[in-house]
């Protein structure tokens, strides 16, 4: 006879529903519940507004030991940086954030801190994000942490303020979706390609209203950092969040992190985390499955992450779009990007390449790109501006210990200090109007990387190979 319960969960429960139940303080009304928030992370871009709002209303942070803050969005990534930034008025955000963090007593990873870095890179690195924990941040890419099996999602500044003041949020329960991947990723095909393919298939609104669990053999085989890359872009599906059930790889990854439990507490936690998976027969509101055994590297041609093709496929014609609205969007995107239907992405010369962002700036991303440079001996093509921006101080030091900085620099890449850098344009650094960039970032929106900048998103391998070729191309690992 099957037990009716395991670790307190009814049999047949999805991972998401388990996490929801664990954090439900009370139901409110309709589909809304009051959820307990285990960790809050802020950054100087939107967190500063939330902290200021709190201070103005003379409220305090209810559990300051559960709230953290970093400087990543506005701070420069050039060597020798200070509070002064290339972004006009950037200093105001940095100073205000530091002041508010001091006033409220929360832990800040300031510019000179050894652990400073991009919020979604440092929160798993420091063990602030852990399996089963609820974590919010006023940043849409907070869903990254679903890769550890955390219940993590992006909110606005007002909601962040609510969480700081009350340790809770009022949340409307999303529906559940499972996206299963059969087959294994081929050589040179990465988690980035997998998520771009998924967005291309399901559309930029395909996950709206859903918490998406990614599952299947392709996911089981992914290293932890690749899972973070995959879940990072769940927000580009407009999903509430993305999730992957924690397994032994995740436990090994989390062990001995700065804020992770130790000793007996670790044993207890690790045992509990084993139960955080969707039960056999658990029912989802929606399911998709893809066989990705023959998946090719993906590249975007347009201005939405859903505008992707196999890297060697032709750019589609607007007249083949599914409806009039999509047709208009394709046309607009092609005008902006300066690409023509029927051509291939390899037909277009590249002006710049960017390796970094909360999607692809972890050690494994840098190792992969550096290995390509080392193996091929290729240099960045003439006229291409190429940057590599490690995601955190820890990543930077680990990469330097392996000599990756030398490999990047001698190939013609700039080697930067950790931060979000040119993933988006805040008024400081930009590539320039009409510049074509191969980028490991997550958004190819009009103007995202600067006025008129033409962003093509792809994997670190694709970006490094393109930087060297001088045009868009997929890389190989052998």
């Amino acid at each position: 006879m099957r037990p009716a319960e395991f670790n307190g969960f009814a049999v047949g429960t999805t991972l998401f529903d388990k996490l929801w139940q664990e954090h439900e303080v009370t139901t409110l009304s309709g589909r809304q519940s009051l959820l307990y928030i285990d960790r809050i992370f802020l950054h100087e871009r939107t967190g500063s507004v939330a902290l200021n709002g709190l201070l103005e209303k003379q409220r305090s942070v209810r559990r300051r030991e559960h709230a953290f803050c970093t400087m990543d969005h506005i701070v420069d990534t050039l060597p020798g940086r200070s509070d002064d930034t290339l972004m006009p008025s950037g200093r105001d955000f940095i100073v205000a954030t530091r002041h508010a963090a001091q006033e409220t007593g929360i832990q800040l990873f300031d510019i000179a801190d050894a652990d400073q870095g991009i919020v979604h890179v440092i929160s798993p690195e420091l063990g602030i994000a852990l399996p089963g924990l609820s974590l919010i941040c006023p940043d849409s890419h907070t869903c990254t942490l679903g890769g550890l099996g955390a219940l993590a999602w992006g909110v606005g500044s007002t909601e962040a303020e609510h969480a700081l003041a009350t340790s809770t949020l009022r949340v409307t329960r999303p529906q559940t979706m499972r996206v299963s991947f059969a087959g294994l990723l081929g050589e040179g095909v990465s988690a980035k390609d997998l998520i771009l393919f998924t967005i291309r298939e399901l559309s930029a609104s395909g996950g709206a209203g859903y918490a998406i669990e990614f599952a299947g053999p392709a996911i089981d085989a992914l290293p932890v950092e690749a899972r973070l890359t995959l879940c990072n872009m769940a927000t580009e599906l407009s999903a509430f969040t993305g999730l992957i059930a924690p397994d032994q790889k995740v436990l090994d990854y989390c062990a001995d992190r700065r804020y992770a439990p130790e000793g007996e507490l670790w044993d207890q936690a690790a045992q509990h985390w084993q139960s955080l998976r969707s039960d056999e027969g658990a029912a989802f509101d929606h399911e998709h499955s893809f066989d990705i055994g023959s998946l090719k590297p993906q590249l975007s041609w347009g201005t939405s992450p859903q505008h992707c093709v196999d890297w060697d496929d032709v750019i589609p014609d607007a007249s083949d779009a599914p409806d009039a609205s999509a047709s208009a969007a394709w046309q607009r995107a092609q005008d902006y990007m300066g690409v023509t239907p029927g051509s291939q992405l390899s037909d277009y010369a590249l002006d710049a390449a960017f390796i970094g962002s909360c999607t692809n700036s972890r050690l494994s991303d840098l190792q992969l790109a550096a290995a390509y440079l080392e193996r091929t001996g290729h240099k960045v093509a003439k006229g291409v501006k190429a940057l590599c921006v490690p995601g955190s101080g820890q990543v930077k030091r680990a990469a330097e210990a392996e000599g990756l900085d030398d490999i990047f620099c001698s190939a013609g890449f700039e080697w930067r200090e950790p931060g979000c850098s040119m993933c988006f344009f805040a008024g400081g650094e930009s590539f320039g109007k009409g510049v074509r960039v191969a980028s490991t970032t997550n958004r190819n929106f009009e103007g995202r990387q600067g006025l008129g900048v033409r962003t093509h998103i792809g994997s670190p391998l694709t970006v490094v190979a393109s930087a060297c070729a001088g045009h868009l191309v997929a890389g190989t690992t052998t």
Binding site: Y36, V49, H66, G156, A208, R443
Partner: protein, 210 residues
């Protein structure tokens, strides 16, 4: 926050799908640590031929006199996708917008809107098309009325009012203009009780206070 009960206003159609928050207000337009001073940056990439010089783009509806004073935005699918920046909502409200009607919204944008008293109405495409057709004939005369109490949209008097559905909790919050933090603070006993039980169950979650 500003309560929303009933509103009649001029509607501006901006019928593109996936209008992201970088388009609603680019990062470079968020210049101060503040919720205000954002109206001038609203739709900056499309509204200005040269965003630096603020040269208006005459083709863009927001710059056309017939849409001057618009308070309701009619938009395409998945409005507000992308970045979580609440500045997108603040910029719309500071520019006078009280509501956005679209086939669907990105979740974070919708949540942010709700917390600031900006009504988001998800409306079927054909109903939205009818509204656009009605408005476009004579935007200043063909206004739209949104009634949150009755959950109806009134446009062409020749046609029946359109009914929309809205989450009851969200509706209540908007109608009363409730301060959510204040409401939740009233539940602090429940939260403390949850923590006591949870700490026994998941002790590793609770870090030592600094």
């Amino acid at each position: 926050m500003t309560p929303f009960t009933k509103h009649r206003g001029l509607a501006l159609p901006l019928l593109r799908d996936n209008i992201d928050t970088d388009a609603i207000i680019p990062s470079r337009e968020m210049r101060t640590v503040s919720r205000s001073g954002l109206a001038v940056g609203l739709f900056a990439p499309w509204r200005y031929l040269d965003p630096e010089a603020r040269t208006p783009n005459p083709e863009f509806a927001l710059n056309q006199s017939e849409y001057s004073g618009a308070t309701i935005l009619l938009a395409g699918d998945n409005f507000g996708c992308g970045s979580s920046r609440e500045h997108a909502v603040w910029a719309l409200m500071e520019s006078g917008f009280r509501a956005v009607i679209a086939p669907s919204f990105a979740t974070i944008f919708r949540n942010n809107a709700l917390r600031n008293g900006l009504l988001t109405v998800a409306l079927a495409q054909h109903d939205l098309d009818e509204l656009v057709a009605w408005v476009s004939v004579a935007p200043a005369r063909h206004t739209i009325q949104l009634d949150l109490e009755a959950c109806t949209i009134e446009s062409d008097p020749e046609r029946e009012k359109k009914v929309f559905s809205v989450d009851p909790t969200a509706r209540d919050m908007l109608l009363k203009g409730l301060d959510e933090i204040g409401l939740t603070e009233q539940l602090s006993d429940l939260v403390a009780c949850f923590e006591d039980q949870d700490q026994a169950r998941r002790p590793w979650v609770y870090l030592e206070s600094n």
